[in-house]
């Protein structure tokens, strides 16, 4: 927390939580970005994401037991796909934190946290459905919103709509 | 054992109270609630009773600012295209022809005195796609595009959903376009002549 700018109370709580994580995982975790609207940090080594998640949920002073949502992201500039997870500790410490995990664009892997938070089950399926990043160790990994034999991943920036689906003209 | 009889007792009591309510409504069915709209003062002083409105004969009250059928008062429309750009769905199609300088008077002014600079041969709104969000009516500078509280505008044929507000027939539009192209050609010729003279002077 370089500048002396005074941050709101919630950001300070998130910073405290980040400190505990940083102290345990050190290099695998990027610097804490203390912006007002959504304080977050990035997991640099994606393979450790599941351990970090378990640590965040079970640590006595963290207790992030509520995952609000996982948002799939397409970072076209860096040629990467990624997810943004909003985590929160309900009715215990009341602090919030966001975590970003990135993987490369084609055939990228992110370890699934469906075993840590049940919410992640469907959110990860939706992220795969829309962006195409694979989640290893997901209990029931298939598309959730689009039909199973849909070509391409709709929310990618370079997505071209397929001409027809089972003979039905798709472009509107 | 007491739980067994307690079960039967609460069952009987609650069923009886439920039946009491429905019977009260049954005997209250001789009154019909009036068809006042919510915006009228006496709405809540109406008698409680059957509240069905028989739709085709009794009209369903809609407030004056209801956002339903779109209407464009084309005389006031200056053809700026703001509504077309603002519409999230893009269901408005406008074609404008620039008014030639000499028949500005013919084109006329809008109701608040603004001089209109475009003819509007085509102003189509595809009401089937429109989601009545009302954004076009808020961005319209002359407020000629408004929502009217007419909520029932169903059609038998899909093509009737495209409302044509353009006020030029095809022939007039052709005439105007030809005139514009001639004007442009003349202006073009003059510009070349002037450029050629300028060139000659610079050479001489």
């Amino acid at each position: 927390m370089e500048e002396g700018k005074v941050f709101s109370q919630s950001v300070q709580q998130s910073a405290a939580a980040y400190a505990i994580i940083h102290e345990k995982f050190g290099a695998a975790v990027s610097a804490f970005d203390a912006n007002e609207t959504m304080p977050f940090f990035e997991v640099l080594d994606a393979r450790l994401w599941r351990d970090i998640a378990l640590f965040m949920r079970d640590h006595a002073k963290l207790k992030f037991n509520y995952m609000a949502c996982i948002t799939g992201m397409d970072y076209q500039a860096e040629e990467k796909l990624g997810i943004v997870c909003n985590l929160e500790s309900l009715s215990l410490f009341n602090h919030k934190l966001a975590v970003k995990v990135k993987c490369d664009r084609d055939g990228g892997f992110i370890p699934s946290v469906a075993c840590v938070w049940h919410t992640a089950n469907w959110h990860e399926r939706e992220a795969y459905d829309m962006f195409g990043m694979l989640f290893t160790g997901h209990p029931d990994f298939r598309r959730i919103l689009c039909p199973d034999d849909w070509e391409g991943f709709p929310l990618r920036k370079d997505y071209k709509v397929q001409e027809s689906y089972h003979g039905i003209k798709v472009p509107y | 054992m007491s739980e067994y009889f307690g079960n039967i007792k609460t069952g009987a009591v609650t069923i009886a109270s439920g039946m009491g309510i429905t019977l009260k409504h049954f005997f209250n069915a001789i009154h019909r609630k009036g068809d006042a709209g919510v915006d009228e003062a006496g709405y809540f002083s109406q008698v409680d009773g059957l509240c069905t409105l028989q739709y085709p004969r009794e009209v369903i009250p809609t407030p004056k600012n209801g956002r339903y059928r779109l209407y464009n008062n084309i005389e006031d429309c200056i053809g700026c295209g703001q509504c077309d750009r603002a519409c999230p769905i893009g269901c408005i199609a406008i074609e404008t022809i620039k008014v030639a300088p000499d028949d500005l008077a013919l084109c006329g002014k809008t109701s608040d005195g603004q001089q209109k600079k475009f003819w509007l041969p085509v102003f189509d709104i595809d009401v089937a796609k429109c989601m009545t969000c009302g954004i076009c009516t808020t961005v319209c500078p002359t407020e000629c595009l408004v929502h009217t509280p007419v909520s029932d505008f169903s059609e038998f044929d899909r093509s009737n959903f495209i409302y044509h507000f353009g006020n030029l027939s095809r022939l007039e539009a052709e005439a105007k376009r030809r005139k514009n192209t001639e004007l442009q050609a003349k202006a073009q010729a003059e510009k070349e002549k002037k450029a050629a003279e300028a060139l000659k002077e610079s050479k001489a």
Partner: protein
């Protein structure tokens, strides 16, 4: 209707009020030696059955449910939507009669038939008035209880025949429900039969007639009689799949239960069989416990209300009015209560109704034997 039936029972009741004079004159009316009057007299209840159960039962249910829910109900066809049911029947008539390809054709067609016949067979034994009874069996009540079970065969045939998972659920549920609710129903009616001492419907009603009107009805004769009355009413609801027990055709779970695949006239047949059996069950309860065609009005000194309002045509009026009252209560229950689950239904039958039915049976027996 046999002329012996008329002579055997109507003579003592033909005396008295103008209505009786009118019906007696009609009875005596002969055309070229053909007893036309008797035919007309017999036609009245039959026309009533067709008119009621085919049209105005359905219209009544839609209007009553509308008034209970602050709605108008059908208003478009006819003055207050009176012709609505006729319009429905015409619509159903001209609908294509779809038989699903994978359905078992014979069962699919036979199901509604058995269902319709099963519910209308019991009308044969219902005494509509002292002068008119289809077949005056001396085991009328026993026949009525037995014939209701025929509906189960119809529902099972319809459910299994349409080869649809939802109908299978509906049919299997309805078998369990109707068969198990026969027992408390039969025992409750047995209490009534015990009070009357006979199973013949005409005699049961004749015993309940008297100048004090409603005081003679079995419901008021015996202090415990309200218990079998209540048990039979609840059990009869379950037998005709009505109100809290409409589990076989639970709209919200099984789409439409055993008649999911039916459309057109077959659907109309099933639908009207339900209304037919609704009236039949209400008629039985009013016969056994509320003195069928006897008028409830007592004779108060000089004003002989009871005698004034008794007689063959009055009798038909009274039994139909009592039937309509119970049909109103059935409809009233339907539009108030949610639906029971299948296991709760079984709990209610075996753990609540049947024990209470046995208790009431014993108490009625004690009452009949020891109290003169």
């Amino acid at each position: 209707m046999t002329s012996t039936a008329l002579s055997q029972f109507s003579i003592p009741f033909l005396m008295g009020s103008s209505l009786n004079v009118w019906s007696e004159a009609l009875a005596g009316f002969n055309l070229f030696g053909l007893p036309l009057g008797l035919v007309i007299l017999a036609a009245i209840p039959l026309v009533f059955i067709a008119l009621y159960s085919l049209t105005y039962g359905v219209y009544g249910e839609r209007k009553i449910s509308a008034f209970m829910q602050d709605r108008l109900g059908p208003m478009e066809v006819g003055k207050w939507g009176i012709l609505q049911t006729i319009a429905d029947i015409l619509k159903l008539l001209q609908k294509e009669d779809v038989v699903p390809t994978s359905a078992d054709k014979f069962l699919f067609v036979v199901g509604p038939g058995i269902l319709f016949v099963g519910s209308f067979l019991a009308y044969a034994v219902l005494p509509f008035s002292p002068a008119f009874i289809g077949a005056s069996l001396n085991v009328g009540l026993f026949y009525a209880i037995g014939i209701v079970a025929l509906e189960v065969v119809g529902i099972l045939a319809a459910g299994w025949g349409s080869n649809n998972k939802w109908s299978l659920y509906g049919a299997v549920r309805s078998v369990a429900q109707i068969v198990s609710y026969e027992i408390p129903a039969a025992i409750a009616l047995l209490c009534g039969a015990m009070m009357a001492g006979t199973l013949d419907m005409q005699k049961i009603i004749a015993i309940q007639s008297g100048s004090l009107g409603f005081a003679h009805f079995f419901l008021f004769q015996n202090p415990i009689a309200w218990l079998p009355f209540l048990i039979y009413f609840i059990a009869s609801l379950a037998e005709v799949n009505r109100a809290p027990f409409d589990i076989p055709e639970a709209e919200s779970e099984l789409v439409a239960g055993y008649f999911t695949e039916y459309s057109g006239m077959k659907f109309a047949v099933i639908f009207l069989a339900e209304y037919g059996s609704m009236f039949m069950v209400s008629a039985i309860i009013s016969i056994v416990f509320l003195g069928g065609w006897n008028s409830p009005l007592p004779n108060i000194g000089p004003i002989a209300l009871n005698d004034l309002t008794n007689g063959p045509v009055w009798g038909a009026f009274w039994i139909i009015m009592k039937g309509f009252f119970f049909i109103f209560v059935q409809m009233w229950l339907r539009w108030t209560l949610p639906r029971l689950r299948v296991d709760q239904l079984m709990y209610l039958c075996w753990k609540v109704l049947t024990p209470f039915a046995f208790v009431s049976f014993v108490l009625t027996a004690i009452w009949e034997v020891y109290v003169p």
